[in-house]
């Protein structure tokens, strides 16, 4: 009897179609707390992508996506609890919060369960380095963004720079990468200042910079709201007129509503919605589904993430086996997402994606290009 059962089971397995019925994805992301401003819009994009795929019959026309969501409240401990619960439900892939720290809190569970995990939008290149084989990022790395903006500054003939960074998080130390590239390309870094995240007042720093014997051509920072507007306004009202360069964290409506102070700010981000581009198409779809305009590129970044998982399932011949999916993700090339083509092949899990340069002009976006950075200039990930 037992033999018969076994034979039947084997027979059933052999006869089953190679495409599974459902792909179960777990999302342990921050819907409340300090990371919610980033994770919540990413999840919107994820839902749009999943609904689109499921409406078309699923991945490859057969595999529907089932999403199980848990709120981790922007807390590292809560992330690891939520991840353990999700792993216990038998998921094939995992989505982790936008910041490297809570994402890394889950790495022990992820590695031992051998399930591929993708952070929604963490951009620290150290994430997959520390996270190991099963950890993937979904955003242009900090070191790549800094290389693009430093090269742009040099191209514009800016020779001197000043950096303002915060040692509080990996992301806010991006200016250190900028300084490295800027000096490598022959520029001079006149000085640096640090601040803490959430610091309200930048007048002391602004006064110090205004009093420098030589004004820097550019000031680079990766601070974001609310620090960035305070910093910018303090610098401008102290009489500092240097070119400001920022990063994706300020890709937000506030940056475009600062009036005179905001004009001319240049920053790097994950994409630009040119007419006819996939991002413009995504934004139209976003408006159609939600009824409002997409406020941030992080919506599209969520769409990208599901496109990556879809491509991995297709590349693994419809398999939903986590190990097969991990190997498939690691070998993906030129997956077309909403923001850019995405390649994981040949990387350690930090994808090669397009970086766009945007300048604030007339309270809107001016597209400066999507230059491919010189690989020789990209700094090695720096452990804090």
């Amino acid at each position: 009897m037992k033999k018969l059962l076994t034979l039947t089971a084997i027979g059933a397995l052999l006869a089953a179609p190679s495409f599974a019925d459902t792909l179960r994805i777990g999302a342990a992301t921050a819907q409340t707390g300090g990371l919610a401003p980033y994770d919540a819009p990413v999840m919107e994009g994820i839902h749009i992508a999943i609904d689109e795929i499921n409406a078309a019959g699923g991945i490859g026309g057969t595999t529907k996506i089932e999403l199980i969501e848990k709120d981790v409240r922007s807390d590292a401990a809560q992330t690891s609890i939520a991840v353990q619960e999700l792993v216990d439900t038998g998921i094939s892939a995992l989505i982790l919060p936008c910041d490297a720290d809570p994402a890394l809190a889950a790495i022990g569970i992820v590695s031992s369960a051998e399930i591929p995990a993708i952070s929604t939008c963490a951009s620290s290149p150290t994430l997959p380095m520390i996270g190991g084989d099963y950890m993937f990022a979904n955003f242009p790395g900090d070191n790549v963004q800094a290389t693009v903006s430093a090269a742009w500054a040099q191209e514009q003939g800016h020779d001197t720079a000043y950096i303002i960074y915060s040692p509080d998080s990996q992301y806010t130390t991006m200016p250190l990468y900028f300084a490295e590239v800027f000096e490598k390309m022959g520029g001079t870094v006149l000085g640096q200042d640090t601040h803490s995240i959430g610091q309200q007042d930048f007048s002391a720093i602004a006064t110090r910079i205004a009093a420098l014997p030589e004004q820097p051509d550019v000031i680079m920072t990766s601070s974001y709201e609310p620090d960035f507007p305070s910093m910018l306004k303090a610098l401008r009202s102290a009489g500092v007129t240097s070119q400001m360069i920022g990063s994706d964290g300020i890709d937000s409506p506030t940056t475009f509503s600062l009036g005179e102070a905001g004009e001319g700010v240049v920053f790097t981000t994950a994409g630009y919605a040119e007419d006819g581009s996939p991002l413009a198409a995504f934004n139209a779809k976003y408006k159609e589904t939600t009824g409002s305009e997409s406020e941030t590129v992080f919506n599209a970044v969520g769409y990208d993430l599901i496109k990556v998982i879809e491509a991995a399932v297709l590349a693994a011949d419809g398999s939903t086996d986590p190990k097969a999916l991990r190997d498939a993700i690691a070998n993906l090339e030129n997956v077309q997402g909403a923001t850019s083509a995405i390649t994981y092949k040949g990387t350690d899990g930090m994808p090669v994606r397009q970086v766009s340069l945007i300048r604030v002009k007339d309270a809107g976006r001016e597209f400066l290009g999507s230059p491919s950075p010189d690989a020789a200039l990209i700094p090695a990930p720096r452990m804090q």
Binding site: D201, A204, P229, A238, S252, S257
Partner: protein
């Protein structure tokens, strides 16, 4: 010397904002013995009113009084709904209640408005600067200093010459005796909350005019600073709160301005270290309240 003066103006502006924040906490504490950690959310509410006014095209001159009214109203409602039922509870009960109020409001903002920060349209004038005696002073710095002075003068007048203000001082000194003299506890406490709401509103306008955006969690940092300033000045003492606010502002700005670059990373621990040092010598704060123990009524 120029730089020193310039940094002193910066410190005055920041210290003034901290003083207003600390006063808001102290007014309520002096009467109820409650440290209202939801004070920051009153600021957030005022900030959202500024934001919606900007979207609706209401001029800033009108938006500011509306924002102040909103935070006063929210403070009074907060007292009525959340704190009155636990007024006779222990200090811990009230403290936990205030944390709960803060968290509930934060989650409501995140779910009903937006998790992302929303831009606040500000008059361009606020980003300008004026030249006074060789110094460059931002208009919002100037506004902060003027607003602080106006509020302090108003508060002094209110506490000395207004019936509610006098009643509040009496209640802070000895609530039981004050009640025997016919002062209504509800009026005094509601008055204290309204006043703290007004202070929160003014601080919010100054705070938001620097950062140009509001987000659901923006109240946390100011209430933390206010708490430090109030402790530094002497909990429950209004003059102490002002002194503590200014001292904290001066410590932060001077450290940020004159600490050598390689020490800048340790600016905050050094600043808090100075606060601890002050408290070692004056354990009850700079200007302690005459009656440290708030009574229950």
């Amino acid at each position: 010397m120029d730089i020193f003066l310039q940094q002193t103006v910066n410190a005055l502006a920041l210290g003034g904002t901290y003083a207003l924040l600390a006063l808001g906490l102290a007014v309520v504490f002096s009467i109820m013995g409650l440290i209202n950690f939801a004070h920051g959310e009153l600021m957030t509410i005022a900030g959202y009113v500024l934001m919606y006014c900007g979207i609706a095209g209401v001029s800033f001159v009108v938006a500011v009084p509306l924002a102040l009214m909103a935070s006063v109203l929210a403070a009074v409602l907060m007292e009525r709904i959340a704190f009155r039922p636990v007024r006779n509870g222990s200090g811990a009960t009230m403290l936990v209640t205030s944390f709960a109020v803060a968290m509930i409001l934060q989650v409501l903002f995140q779910n009903l408005i937006s998790t992302r920060s929303q831009p606040v349209l500000l008059p361009a004038m606020l980003s300008d600067s004026v030249h006074i005696a060789g110094m460059v002073i931002g208009v919002n710095k100037l506004a902060a200093i003027i607003a602080t002075v106006v509020m302090l003068v108003f508060l002094d007048w209110f506490m000395k010459h207004q019936k509610t203000g006098i009643a509040m001082r009496a209640a802070a000194e000895d609530f039981a005796v004050a009640r025997l003299m016919g002062i209504r506890a509800n009026t005094v406490i509601a008055g204290a909350f309204a006043l703290s709401g007004l202070l929160a509103g003014v601080a919010a306008v100054l705070w938001v005019s620097q950062r140009a955006s509001v987000d659901p969690l923006m109240g946390f940092m100011p209430v933390l600073k206010a708490f430090i300033a109030a402790i530094l000045g002497g909990l429950g003492s209004l003059r102490g709160a002002v002194a503590g606010g200014f001292l904290l502002g001066f410590i932060e700005i001077y450290l940020s301005a004159f600490l050598p670059p390689e020490m800048q990373e340790f600016r905050e621990p050094i600043g808090l270290g100075i606060v601890v040092l002050v408290l070692l010598f004056r354990p009850n704060g700079l200007i302690p309240s005459a009656t440290l123990k708030a009574e229950k009524v």
